[in-house]
């Protein structure tokens, strides 16, 4: 299979990223490397329901992209990173706005990666890139499968070098067509994809 980034015909409309244990450190290396005009990035990181909202404080000063916590109905725009708020699922509406939900937790988590990935795959189809990072959960595997099934690109942090390999390993097993990449390669791939779109 020709890597999508090399085929030169794909337009990346959005990137979804899911992480759990250990992923804040990974995002700290990944997100500052994304240029200001990058397609919208939507992120679910597993956090406890009562976690204070610190995403903007942690990432905004270090990222060329705008960093915010997703609000209900907010339009999803190029150049922005949207974090799912604690205790809410984050979904994508067909008119490309953020949707939030307080449906029951999935894989013991709200927000859940599967919920974001599945709804984003419905909307963006082949224009979506899904990324599963380190974590001690099965969340994200089904969602990444949906991303791939809809024609999108499935990227997985290499379980061999991930801080906790359970989650990327589950994603590798669920998505045979997914591409396993080291952290450095992951960043390079994302930037390359974006430079073509």
């Amino acid at each position: 299979m020709v890597p999508a980034a090399l085929s030169g015909r794909r337009t990346v409309e959005a990137v979804v990223i899911g992480g759990s244990a250990g992923s804040v450190a990974v995002l700290s290396r990944l997100l500052p490397g994304l240029p200001a005009g990058f397609p919208p990035v939507l992120i679910v990181v597993h956090v406890p329901p009562s976690a204070p909202s610190l995403w903007v404080d942690i990432f905004a000063p270090r990222c060329p992209m705008r960093v915010c916590e997703a609000e209900a109905s907010a339009p999803i725009e190029r150049g922005s990173i949207y974090f799912a708020p604690a205790d809410y699922h984050l979904l994508v509406e067909p008119d490309r706005r953020c949707a939030l939900s307080v449906e029951p937790p999935v894989h013991f988590s709200r927000p859940a990666i599967d919920v974001l990935f599945e709804s984003a795959a419905d909307v963006y189809g082949a224009g979506l890139v899904g990324v599963v990072l380190t974590g001690a959960s099965r969340d994200g595997a089904e969602g990444l499968r949906a991303v791939h099934a809809a024609g999108g690109i499935a990227l997985i942090e290499d379980p061999a070098t991930a801080e906790v390999q359970t989650m990327p390993r589950a994603a590798v097993n669920a998505v045979p067509g997914g591409r396993v990449l080291s952290l450095a390669a992951l960043l390079a791939e994302l930037v390359l994809l974006a430079s073509e779109s």
Partner: protein
């Protein structure tokens, strides 16, 4: 061009509306699609068309589908800062009224209702207040009226209640037994539980406070505007509107009708 699935989904919601008068046609597609997909799997159907066939011809299917479409999870004193702001910013104004009416819109299984009732009792206002607790799901309203919750949830509820600035322990408001916590029935003495739809029903009284949290997040724009319009028309001048922690009037067409009282806690006042 719409996918076959998108068309089927629209037809299913049309069928539900015309057969059962529940209107989900202007609910947010992302969330409705997810919930219908879960219902589809649970009911063993393969397509939304098959589900539509069952919903129309088998009367026992609709209550199950409704449960999926209205699934809502809340806690007592969810987002304690919201209730702290209610205590500190709203209650002092309510004290100046001879009587108070409060509308809890989309009360689901009642967690919000008991939170308000407890807080009003603590502030000495419960006896002069009438609370209207409304929802579209009759099963949920019955649960709300019963006021019984799993005992294992009390740890979180108690912590939330404390964080809201409570003067005493939550345990003084319920009796525990058989794994359940049953809330003091006198808390709901002035509560009117009623079936009401923000999509199809209208204003039913003049309120000093409307609280509607994590309900608008499931609505499309037009329906959000309808609901917020109902709240505005229900509220007295300078009445209070409280929303969910991640909800905002900023993207609605009705922002100008309200001023922001507590931006972080999502309390607004009618202009």
């Amino acid at each position: 061009m719409d996918s076959a699935e998108a068309i089927e989904m629209r037809l299913l919601l049309d069928a539900v509306y015309h057969r059962y008068q529940y209107d989900f046609r202007q609910y947010s597609p992302a969330s409705v699609r997810r919930r219908l997909t879960l219902a589809l799997r649970a009911l063993g159907c393969t397509t939304f068309s098959a589900l539509q066939d069952r919903v129309l011809h088998d009367p026992s299917t609709f209550p199950i589908l409704l449960r999926y479409l209205t699934v809502q999870v809340s806690d007592l004193f969810r987002d304690p800062r919201y209730f702290r702001a209610l205590r500190e910013r709203v209650i002092p104004v309510l004290r100046t009224y001879p009587s108070v009416k409060i509308w809890i819109a989309g009360c689901s299984t009642g967690e919000e209702v008991y939170s308000f009732a407890i807080l009003l009792r603590e502030e000495g206002l419960l006896d002069k207040t009438i609370l209207y607790a409304t929802d579209i799901n009759a099963e949920a309203l019955q649960a709300a009226e019963a006021g019984i919750y799993a005992l294992k949830r009390m740890k979180l509820f108690t912590a939330n209640h404390q964080a809201s600035g409570a003067p005493c322990s939550l345990s003084s408001y319920y009796r525990a037994g058989y794994g359940s916590a049953m809330f003091d029935r006198t808390l709901r003495k002035n509560v009117v539980f009623s079936d009401h739809s923000l999509a199809t029903d209208t204003v039913f009284g003049e309120m000093q406070v409307v609280s509607c949290r994590n309900v608008l997040i499931y609505f499309e724009h037009a329906l959000q505007d309808r609901a917020v319009g109902l709240f505005r028309d229900s509220l007295c001048v300078r009445g209070f509107l409280g929303l969910g922690a991640k909800e905002t009037l900023r993207f609605s067409g009705r922002e100008a009708d309200f001023e922001v009282l507590a931006p972080e806690e999502r309390w607004y006042r009618r202009r």
